[in-house]
């Protein structure tokens, strides 16, 4: 095992825990993006450039946009409900 692989594996273990332990879903989305970059680095050190390319496009563009839009939708629904309650 090379030193780069060792570093990537340790970072991955920490990153996965960071995603799960981040309390706020909005911040969690950002941490998930960073975790995706760590996974990309790991796949790269595992000699899997195809997979790394796949992971980097999904974690930087694909997933965050979907999660952010869903979170925004949920927050607006909450706000709409509160306004209904006041009226």
């Amino acid at each position: 095992m090379t030193a780069l692989q060792l570093v990537a594996l340790v970072l991955t273990a920490l990153g996965g825990a960071a995603v799960v332990l981040t309390p706020d879903p909005l911040r969690q989305t950002l941490v998930l993006g960073i975790y995706g970059l760590v996974l990309t680095f790991l796949f790269f050190t595992f000699q899997a450039p195809d997979v790394a390319l796949s992971e980097i496009v999904v974690c930087t563009v694909g997933l965050p946009l979907i999660i952010l839009a869903a979170l925004r939708k949920i927050r607006r629904q909450d706000r709409g409900r509160e306004q209904d309650g006041e009226e």
């Binding site: 195809d50 790394a52 390319l53 796949s54 496009v57 563009v61 694909g62 979907i66 607006r76």
Partner: protein
């Protein structure tokens, strides 16, 4: 089951599961010492058989082509599910009163952001197209390139022009892209059945390895997947963003 009980149960079961997983994986070949023959054979056979230089893509569209067809339909199915679930909600909110307000809701992007996103659009398109068509030569292919291609139109959204995006890529066009991609892959397979008597078998000339038009049907397969993934991701994003905008309208 109360939350406390559930967490307590997992505090016991979690470590147990970890031990079982580790015991199970103990039987796997040690890291770096894999001796499986299948991959070695694929590495030796794919370049001469299909004239492709990226063996991963070659496997994806040759030995594992039928599996990829299945993956394509998972993609298609989940995107249809997203559209189905979110559109039911949209009808519930069909309130167009505040449309004018909503039109300008996304328009407060700064000039710097607009110019940057305008530069990003052609770049994303060029990079995505490059990755899709060079799948059989270098790392890439339809799955990765499709996401990059879909990111181009999304840059229009970053420029604050959501309705320009809707005009450029209406839902019916995205649905068509998604379906054409999935259908084209199945049809290429049928071509194999007709001309080479095996479903998804190559039936085109193989060409020179390393050239853009080589590896037989592989560039076509890659293109079909690329079109489907582009349509699928754009459709998913715009469905969710429609949701966000509709509630914006309702809240005002």
């Amino acid at each position: 089951m109360s939350r406390r009980f559930r967490l307590g149960l997992f505090a016991l079961a979690g470590p147990g599961l970890a031990v079982v997983l580790l015991l199970g994986m103990h039987g796997l070949p040690a890291f770096g010492h894999f001796r499986g023959l299948y991959g070695v054979l694929a590495n030796r056979l794919e370049p001469p058989l299909r004239h492709a230089t990226d063996i991963v893509t070659a496997l994806n569209f040759d030995l594992r082509a039928f599996d990829t067809l299945g993956e394509e339909f998972i993609l298609f199915g989940s995107v249809s599910g997203v559209a189905l679930l979110l559109r039911q909600l949209r009808d519930e909110h069909k309130d167009e009163r505040n449309r004018d307000v909503a039109d300008h809701r996304f328009a407060d992007a700064s000039d710097a952001l607009r110019v940057t996103s305008l530069i990003l659009i052609p770049l994303a398109f060029a990079l995505g197209a490059y990755v899709v068509v060079h799948g059989q030569l270098t790392p890439g292919g339809g799955f990765q390139g499709g996401v990059v291609l879909a990111a181009g139109p999304i840059a229009i959204l970053l420029a604050g022009r959501y309705f320009a995006l809707k005009a450029l890529a209406p839902a019916w066009a995205l649905e068509a892209l998604d379906s054409i991609g999935a259908g084209a892959y199945a049809l290429i397979g049928l071509g194999g059945l007709i001309f080479a008597s095996v479903y998804l078998q190559n039936f085109l000339p193989l060409g020179t390895p390393g050239k853009l038009l080589s590896a037989g049907t592989m560039p076509l397969n890659s293109l079909a997947v690329g079109i489907e993934v582009t349509g699928a991701f754009l459709l998913t994003w715009t469905e969710f963003l429609d949701q966000a905008l509709i509630v914006e309208r309702g809240a005002r």
